[in-house]
């Protein structure tokens, strides 16, 4: 198994930005490619808080760029160190990414779709 200790990787316990999410995504991608058996463990121990933007870029991208299904993520990745509410948010980020992926596959202009429906 391969461990990614998020706070060490990103040198910060504050997980807010898209850029940090992107860095974690790249680290996960690299870990999955390396020839090790078993799951990649993503350890969030020591984090302070986390944003939707971070989760979308770190995990949602696995669905959109690497075409992972929710099952693929469960089979290949193990999450530890997140509080239960943030774990729920992570699950929701993955589900939302699946819905976004469907829009892309159905040739719907994604930015326009979200811009017109999601404004409040």
């Amino acid at each position: 198994m391969k461990n990614i200790i998020v706070v060490n990787l990103l040198k910060s316990p504050v997980l807010l930005s898209a850029e940090k999410g992107e860095l974690l995504f790249e680290a996960i991608k690299k870990a999955l490619k390396s020839k090790t058996k078993g799951k990649v463990i993503i350890d969030f121990e020591g984090y302070r808080f986390i944003s939707s933007t971070f989760l979308n870029n770190a995990f949602g991208q696995l669905c959109i760029d690497l075409n992972f299904s929710e099952k693929d993520i469960k089979d290949k990745i193990e999450i530890s160190g997140l509080n239960s509410d943030d774990e729920d948010d992570l699950e929701l980020a993955i589900s939302n990414a699946q819905l976004r992926k469907r829009l892309i596959e159905d040739n719907i202009n994604v930015q326009e779709f979200y811009a017109s429906f999601m404004n409040y």
């Binding site: 504050v14 807010l16 930005s17 898209a18 302070r48 808080f49 944003s51 939707s52 933007t53 979308n56 870029n57 949602g60 959109i64 509410d85 729920d88 948010d89 699950e91 929701l92 980020a93 589900s95 939302n96 990414a97 819905l99 976004r100 469907r102 829009l103 159905d106 719907i108 930015q111 779709f113 979200y114 017109s116 429906f117 999601m118 409040y120």
Partner: protein, 208 residues
């Protein structure tokens, strides 16, 4: 009248909020939780989500964060209509079809449960709902629909009658039109710039 506080400035420079608690509006909660992942690869919304999360997490650690049932109702409506639209890839919300999906479509039921779970977590663990007994007639009579929405009015009414912590965190410029004295904490640059012009910017004093 509103005295405007630049929320990012407050947090970045570790200044004090002038109240012990603040009320949170629906748009802030939507920007905070981003329930549909609409921030993904949209730099403007990503920045808004990032800044809102930064401000709220900082403020929640130091002050009490309040909201109202009216805000929770607005947030529920937002996830109610948009979960359907996103799932069905449609611009039109159809209530009957939503109910049918909720009862018969396993895939929709799974994701709807996740939205509901987040909704409940937001309004039970993140913000304390302030519930006051009001005379409904008075609320309706005082409502100035040409200036604000009814939801804004309910939030403002509750804040006003809570009495002590007259501070609302919102990016809705409608609140700027209220003539009562209160603090409007915001990330909205247009409101902040307008307040600077009108000399209605509040400068929080001491650092923590």
């Amino acid at each position: 009248m509103a005295q405007v506080i630049d929320a990012l400035d407050l947090v970045n420079n570790q200044k004090r909020l002038p109240t012990e608690a603040f009320f949170v509006d629906t748009n802030i909660i939507i920007n905070y939780k981003d329930p549909f992942g609409s921030s993904y690869k949209d730099k403007r919304i990503e920045k808004l989500n990032e800044d809102t999360t930064k401000v709220l997490e900082h403020l929640k650690s130091l002050y009490k964060a309040y909201t109202t049932l009216s805000v929770s109702q607005e947030y529920y409506k937002y996830i109610h209509t948009n979960s359907y639209k996103l799932y069905k890839q449609t611009k039109e919300f159809r209530l009957y079809d939503f109910k049918k999906l909720r009862e018969t479509d396993i895939s929709f039921m799974n994701i709807w449960e996740k939205y509901l779970k987040q909704f409940k977590t937001v309004f039970t663990k993140n913000f304390k709902i302030i519930d006051k007994e009001f005379n409904g007639e008075d609320i309706i009579i005082e409502f100035k629909g040409s200036l604000v929405d009814f939801g804004d009015h309910l939030l403002f009414y509750t804040m006003k009658y809570e009495g002590v912590n007259k501070c609302i965190f919102s990016n809705d410029s409608d609140f700027y039109s209220y003539t009562d004295d209160f603090f409007l904490l915001t990330l909205n640059k247009k409101i902040i710039n307008l307040a600077k012009q009108d000399k209605k910017i509040y400068h929080p004093s001491k650092k923590h």
